[in-house]
Symmetry: C2
């Protein structure tokens, strides 16, 4: 039996979930692995309030140094969330030779370089499977069983809140604001939902999993990001009529010379494996030159699924005599600011001669060909809805077309990329 | 740079795929991992015939001892397939302290106990991610990131040939024999398809992944097994009318006291994530007490996907200083010979008074309640098709009902379990 001494930074939902999993399943983990997990200290802000988990008084501390500076503690598990003080405390733990296990995508995404450098310097391990896709073993898979691949593409549904909102909008024909309010009432969206609905959370995760998959550091500021706040029930309904399902995707592509990294709503063909990943589920679709296509699907959040990934990392950290460090190219690939996609363009057009000619003429002028077109609801002299779906075309060319259209006669209401 | 010296037993499709992946991607693997993979020897039956892979003459050998007894070779990769001599050669490699990497589900399933015991004795590693689900990292996931779970359930589509046949039967309304012949013509089914269509291949894989997931050895002879040869286009069509899709499933369940291990055709609700896994794709659905539901989907066969998993294992074997050995309970859980399922029962019934009463009476007598019933195509005095779908009921009770039915008035044509 090998005792593994842990310090927990934070005892909220995730920290409490880890405490509970170790308390209820620790004996079984010991039987299976020969490792006895012992939480020596858990950092809280106030010893009187710690979420009702049955934690003995002597385990609680309000002083981080009691964890970070205790030579007996081998692994520090960080559950504070947010950028600081989480990042600094993880850095200090690594500096002191302790392994760090975390689910904190924000702190990781923003400080991965310095955390990695410190881990390499002291030989301590940095483990973060839980930071992307909750319980889904996507980072482990990319780094180990799938290592012998040029991963060309990843598309992830990695934010449960937005997937829940889009799923309900599609099912009920409801508008974004209505569903958001309901999700907030149910505790499925934060009171300030910005990080989720503006795609920041998904971008943090793309930054982490893309850096690992492409072996090239992708920083937050390199990621093109667009949230779901402009999506309407009408977009979803028209998309469905044309065979598409709307998802917020985190997309990474590596063509060997440059990387695409973007988070935005996208239509997927209804038969795409990601299209039926509904509600708060997460899924990551990967394409590698050797394994071909793969999809990993599961619970992307929640105390228990996250705790599952955290304890998995704890065992791995305790088992490894040397800790693997992900390889990043010394010269990162450039992140492209243009890319190819198909586009769904929804317009309100004046019902007058020449409007269609203007739209199709502008598209043709940029060399963009049209794969489908639909016009609906024109009253004589009124406005009609015009939907154009393009074949694959450069993003910048599509933007030029949108800018060139005269809003007096044809108002672009939304542009949504079509992937898959 | 660390040189990793390999010996390949066999250079057929999989062996050749591994050779090609190392040849074309070995430099990149070295950049990423610091490990240089070198194939020192590859065992073939005749040096003149080795599938057209560009293998230098001096690498080829027709004598297994040149690999198994060479102290310089650290990792032996077995690609012979079949039970023997594969199992004996792997045992010898482990005895000599060499790590073994294999995709051979048959040899593993039948000899896992002795191979594991030898690996434990000499400290050599036994790696077999590729043996179940091809490139899908299901075994790695079960053993590492998902270790802190009581895995209660697994349902796998783990045989591409039968999934291809069932998918085409469903799409075309075609009969089993017709599609099988076509699959054979296309090289998607073996000339002797028994191992696939009778569920043996799926059972080998269930034996391996179930043993790892439940930490309790499941032997081939413990697995209830039923192939797809009795499935008709009519079953599939009626099932679809009632909202179901037919799949050959490898099912494992662990209720803490006993294990279910069975391979058979089963109807899944059309909205189940496994239901849309079509063609030659593989997928494994898992339920763990902590991670909740998860599905891993990808290419279950093919040279390149299998090579992806093999090279992943090679890197892992080379990186690990101690090789993890899966924990199996010293007293394996008993494998149940009865279990609960729902049942689809298709009958040809005489169109006469009292037939329905007999069927429903027998079901009621066993305490089995009916969730759906459908009668079709009765000509006066002729025979009608009668479909009954039960609520959850014990397998043995359903078998008693089927045996008790008088075939003169009601002939049972097929019984198919309904899962999910």
């Amino acid at each position: 039996m090998q005792e593994v001494v842990l310090g927990l930074l934070g005892l909220g939902n995730i920290g409490g979930g880890v405490w509970d999993l170790i308390r209820t399943f620790g004996d079984e983990v010991e039987t299976r692995t020969g490792m006895r997990l012992r939480v020596k200290k858990a950092l809280v802000l106030d010893k009187r309030f710690h979420g009702g988990h049955e934690v003995p008084e002597e385990v609680l501390t309000t002083d981080g140094a009691e964890i970070l500076e205790d030579p007996e503690i081998q692994i520090v598990c960080e559950f504070l969330g947010g950028e600081q003080p989480a990042a600094s405390m993880m850095l200090r733990a690594l500096e002191n030779g302790k392994c760090v296990v975390t689910a904190n995508k924000m702190a990781l995404s923003l400080h991965l370089d310095e955390l990695r450098a410190m881990a390499q310097k002291t030989g301590a391990g940095l483990y973060f499977e839980a930071s992307v896709g909750g319980a889904i073993p996507v980072l482990t898979s990319i780094q180990s069983p799938l290592i012998a691949n040029h991963i060309e593409q990843m598309m992830g549904i990695v934010n449960g809140t937005t997937n829940y909102i889009l799923t309900r909008m599609a099912a009920e024909g409801a508008e974004y604001e209505t569903v958001l309010k309901d999700a907030q009432r149910l505790g499925l969206a934060e009171p300030d939902p910005t990080a989720d609905v503006e795609g920041m959370d998904a971008a943090y995760k793309l930054s982490i999993m893309g850096s690992l998959a492409f072996h090239s550091r992708i920083h937050m500021e390199d990621i093109y990001r667009e949230g779901i706040t402009k999506v309407t029930a009408e977009d979803i309904a028209f998309g469905r009529e044309m065979g598409y399902v709307l998802k917020l995707l985190a997309i990474g592509k590596d063509n060997g010379e440059s990387i695409e990294a973007r988070v935005h709503p996208a239509f997927l063909p209804a038969e795409h494996p990601l299209a039926r990943v509904d509600g708060s589920l997460n899924a990551i679709y990967l394409y590698g030159h050797s394994f071909k296509d793969m999809m990993l699907e599961g619970r992307g959040a929640g105390d228990a699924p996250t705790a599952s990934a955290i304890v998995g990392d704890i065992i791995l950290a305790a088992r490894n005599r040397t800790h693997p460090v992900a390889y990043f190219r010394p010269d990162p690939l450039p992140v492209a600011d243009d890319w190819q996609s198909k586009y769904f363009i929804r317009m309100k057009a004046k019902d007058a001669p020449g409007v269609l000619a203007e739209v199709t003429g502008l598209l043709a002028g940029e060399g963009i060909s049209v794969s489908a077109m639909m016009q609906k609801g024109a009253a004589p002299g009124g406005k009609a809805t015009l939907i154009v779906i393009t074949h694959s075309a450069p993003e910048k060319a599509v933007r030029r077309v949108v800018e060139a259209l005269n809003p007096e006669i044809c108002q672009v209401e939304n542009v949504i990329r079509v992937e898959g």
